[in-house]
Point group: C4
Amino acid sequence: MTTPQFKQLRRSYGFDEVAIVPGEVTINPDQTNIDLPIGDFTFSIPILASAMDAVTNVDFAIRYGKLGGLAVLNLDGVQTRYDDPEEVLGQIAGASNSKVTALMQKVYSAPIKENLIAERIQAIKKGGVVCAVSAVPANTKRLAPIAEAAGADIFAVQSSITSARHLSKSVRGLIFEELCQAVSMPIMVGNCCSYGACLELMRTGIHGVLVGVGPGAACTTRQVLGVGIPQITATIDCAAARDLYLKESGRYVPIITDGGFRNGGDLCKAFAAGADAVMLGSIFAQTEGAPGKGYHWGMSHPHPTLPRGTRIKVGTTGTLEQVLFGPTSVTDGSQNLVGALRTAMGVCGAASIAEMHNAEMVIAPAITTEGKSWQISQS
Amino acid sequence: MTTPQFKQLRRSYGFDEVAIVPGEVTINPDQTNIDLPIGDFTFSIPILASAMDAVTNVDFAIRYGKLGGLAVLNLDGVQTRYDDPEEVLGQIAGASNSKVTALMQKVYSAPIKENLIAERIQAIKKGGVVCAVSAVPANTKRLAPIAEAAGADIFAVQSSITSARHLSKSVRGLIFEELCQAVSMPIMVGNCCSYGACLELMRTGIHGVLVGVGPGAACTTRQVLGVGIPQITATIDCAAARDLYLKESGRYVPIITDGGFRNGGDLCKAFAAGADAVMLGSIFAQTEGAPGKGYHWGMSHPHPTLPRGTRIKVGTTGTLEQVLFGPTSVTDGSQNLVGALRTAMGVCGAASIAEMHNAEMVIAPAITTEGKSWQISQS
Amino acid sequence: MTTPQFKQLRRSYGFDEVAIVPGEVTINPDQTNIDLPIGDFTFSIPILASAMDAVTNVDFAIRYGKLGGLAVLNLDGVQTRYDDPEEVLGQIAGASNSKVTALMQKVYSAPIKENLIAERIQAIKKGGVVCAVSAVPANTKRLAPIAEAAGADIFAVQSSITSARHLSKSVRGLIFEELCQAVSMPIMVGNCCSYGACLELMRTGIHGVLVGVGPGAACTTRQVLGVGIPQITATIDCAAARDLYLKESGRYVPIITDGGFRNGGDLCKAFAAGADAVMLGSIFAQTEGAPGKGYHWGMSHPHPTLPRGTRIKVGTTGTLEQVLFGPTSVTDGSQNLVGALRTAMGVCGAASIAEMHNAEMVIAPAITTEGKSWQISQS
Amino acid sequence: MTTPQFKQLRRSYGFDEVAIVPGEVTINPDQTNIDLPIGDFTFSIPILASAMDAVTNVDFAIRYGKLGGLAVLNLDGVQTRYDDPEEVLGQIAGASNSKVTALMQKVYSAPIKENLIAERIQAIKKGGVVCAVSAVPANTKRLAPIAEAAGADIFAVQSSITSARHLSKSVRGLIFEELCQAVSMPIMVGNCCSYGACLELMRTGIHGVLVGVGPGAACTTRQVLGVGIPQITATIDCAAARDLYLKESGRYVPIITDGGFRNGGDLCKAFAAGADAVMLGSIFAQTEGAPGKGYHWGMSHPHPTLPRGTRIKVGTTGTLEQVLFGPTSVTDGSQNLVGALRTAMGVCGAASIAEMHNAEMVIAPAITTEGKSWQISQS
């Protein structure tokens, strides 16, 4: 009798399930280097702000760039569909829970105005910072040249799930090799979440990969499609692809873990898992003056027949400076993210992000189980 | 000293615990083929509607068949026991929680009227769709010939747990080899949940196997008997049996994962685990005009001394068309199931259900842990 | 450098984490044999009632014996300390939560009256049933001969944790080899929960082993001492000891899984794990007329300085007959336990308890995760 | 093609996830020896009281020392910054939740007064007990000689995470080899949580290692930094380091598991995992007369820009004597900790702490799953 072949399942891990192990050597936090190079640019904060309408507008991009980070402006969102995007953002913030998805489906069906692309990019450049913009794959061939002509510095091609090869009989898909030749800006592509898909993307010549499918708070991809990988495993897999690609090509392509972060602990774990940078949405949507006005939603472009983004109330927790650098009086890990990263690197004896990739991590039960149970048993 | 022999336990997995990994290649959803062949019939939707009284009556079977799916009418339920089943369904919907099990025990003790079998089948056929009916093993020898004579196209033999060999001293049990010769309709049999049991069923010559014991929302088999296997492992096991049986016989017998689904994500995972089709109960009981009138219960025939079915309030979430095809404004995965399946196949680069069987899956913590914790930590 | 030696931890499993897999062959429930032999006695129900004051008094022992089971009367409890135990039981049932532990410490400090031992045993024998009694190891040498003289049929030596060798400098401990010679009744000993401890107990010549440390609802051993093994692993381990001992001695010593049961599903799993019988406390304390009057507590003799038993309100769910045999209208697995066992054996194709020991089990997530999540997501 | 190298993650375990297995031999609790040697001192209770301001002041240190234990006075906290520390402790206890972290940041920015160090130490010595004090690494070179001159007996160098080698370009860090020569008191160092870090610390010549990073109730290190190891694995790892170091050096350096304890069960598990002693904070902060006045906070010195300690309300549960020795009427494992340890050692047949290190432990689901589910299912 033939032996049965059962499908095999590999175990994957999310932020909640791992913890960083302190090193045998420690180092002062002020001696850590956390610079992030993308193409020829170098950023002093290895944290990107998401290309989401509740996070990045012109004002936020300038403020964040001046602090050392990079915010990505979404070219498929309200910023390029409306002359006055603030009014539309106000409508979304003011809608009731039952009507907001329908409202967003309508808001995002307005056409993209090409003149607004140039207007927004030039406004950011006028602020004196590096300008990064993004578009979905279907719009990239059209919008990338317009963005470059307007002065954009970095281009991100981003959808829920993007692969190096997309099969379609209706249209000839986006070919990343061609895009890299058509524009001279560094190209970041995402999202992907597995070793093979990441390796194929890097081999097309692009300059950064966004990692993460389905883990974010404002994303219901996993509930709707069953698709997604927890971020620690996704990052570990894509880091292995990056390291292999470096060996085969001599070229280092940074990976940016995107989505699912809740606090500084999660951020530190992403770097220990192999990330060169992280991309945050919810945490920035909570800062004072963020365009979401206390709300956040995951997808720039809710699908008209199968929406997967949910608007959630995130509130306002502090200034952008506090979230990045403190000082803070809260102890839940939502503020002073840069300080947290440097401190974690210090206890791991990691002088650079590259050394942080070598920090040991263990699989550990979620902190709620152990850290909080005493209080629970007392109540 | 002799070495002790400890009983070994194998790990099994449910929907909550796995996630689909996107492929290296992606494909447009409109290029996916999701046809389901059963015997000589082909259905354009690989989703069956359960042979449960809260789901399928004549009206539902016709409406669903016209949309491309297959609903199974229960010959052991209220449809064949009462001239006016709607009145009885209304009583069940109106009963209090404390009295409903006793009421159902009484309702299902009324005799099956053979004339109603023909009446219901002919009404469905008059609607212009394929007619599938079901009976428990004990009633099959009597009811299958009656159903075939009345024009039924497909017959399902279904109980909580059905095996190819049932030992009884009182009566000679149902022999599937004999049934396949006695009637010419395709025979589906279920439910089973393990490699060995599924393989034995296929070897009797039947044409489809229903997979799933104990996972459904309206089924308390596991609490009462301790029996059941989570659906991902059950599907993987039975898919291995199907593939082996194909090799040994040259005959492809589809497996239909039945029970425990909560959203489109679960449905997509069942196909990635190896299902050729799925069978849904609760989700259809929630559609407008479903016979359960906002309620659902799992077993057609509550046992008089050891009932295992529970009536639960499921409410009404939308039309049958919305649940299948959208458009929808909800983002919880309860609507546009066909769109979700085609989209998931697209991100896995699967052009057919057979290719979807090869999609990678990982073991992942339940989405509530990671996807929702941000909100929780904010509240 | 020497290689470090890390302490190894073995994974263990509780009821919640496993499920029984249906067999390839099934059998009619009415063809299953569930007889339990202990010494020369045979019981038609393989379920013992605990030697706990909220469960077994003279009345319950007689009623349960007439139905085919065996209840064990606690010789260290209120039945032998008070002429009118019903009055004391009423005080415990009526005490407030904050005062009940202190009350019980006082109640159980009254002396055991030897004349009451004979009185209770003779009352049970007068009821026409087999009489089993229990004592803690420290009282056994004194009470066992008295019990035998009064007509007791079976003696249980029971404490939280009992080993074959107990080291003490103050007194010479109980030697089971000597006890087996001193009295002619079958001797059951417990509780133990591991392979080695069970094997040592069997080698002393005793006739049954009670399995289970720390899993019960009314027992806080694990919280106070950190000691305990989940019942599935405890049962699997002790079943391996029993099977090895049978090979080395030719003598079959039944194991009785004791504690932690919540429903029929758990009970069925214990047999599939290797139990010859189970011992229930909470479930019987919930029957009409049980001595606990709607309450239950775990230890007969709360320790004066380190109590580990908690009184919990269990309510009254039905008659003893309903709990054992049905008929029932509840679907939570709390009634018709014998029917559930026979049905589970049927779907596993097990004609006897010995065959049920061979049923396959899988490690599966707790039923609440999958079976109930649909309702949760709807609420 | 090169094989990808994925980062490996080791599984770690916390108190909740393990249970102690009773032994084949048992022993009377009164025959167990639980002495703890540190340097030339021997304590009759192997439980240290934390160097936290809510736990140890002069009064507590004397009371606890007379009972046989060792409390550590924090030289970086309010005791050495304020002439009247009780007044400051009252302010912290009285502050609102929203203002307490900011208040503590201010309170702990007052300077340390060297004269108060001598004053507190002499007061403790006058009480007739062994005096242990602690400081963070940055203050140790300055404070340790002062403490020794004032009569301190034992010195603890303690911060969240301490390593044998700390890299800093600004100042020459603390060298433990030099400290051990500079003072003649036994030196304890912590906290660490891994095999390698513990081994390096022992090799510097110090006399005790405090084990535990991030598990405590009042510590949010893991949420803020992602750093920490559950205590069972941390203890197992450091015990392996201790055993190896004993082999290579002939010197036995005790390890003290510090943090995360909720009850006697956790305490017993730490010893079974390899601890020579445990250090408790929350549990002592709950005793009558503790300096925290019903509150507890984790870090003596909240970081001005990245605080990780949270003040939590712990209440008052009983006297120090009750917590240590009983008698008690509560059954949740919060009192009679010494009785619990001796009892657990008894059921494991362990006559000494060294023998308790050999007790078997299993990985087991948290007690809430099994022990409490019956009540839940009844409510």
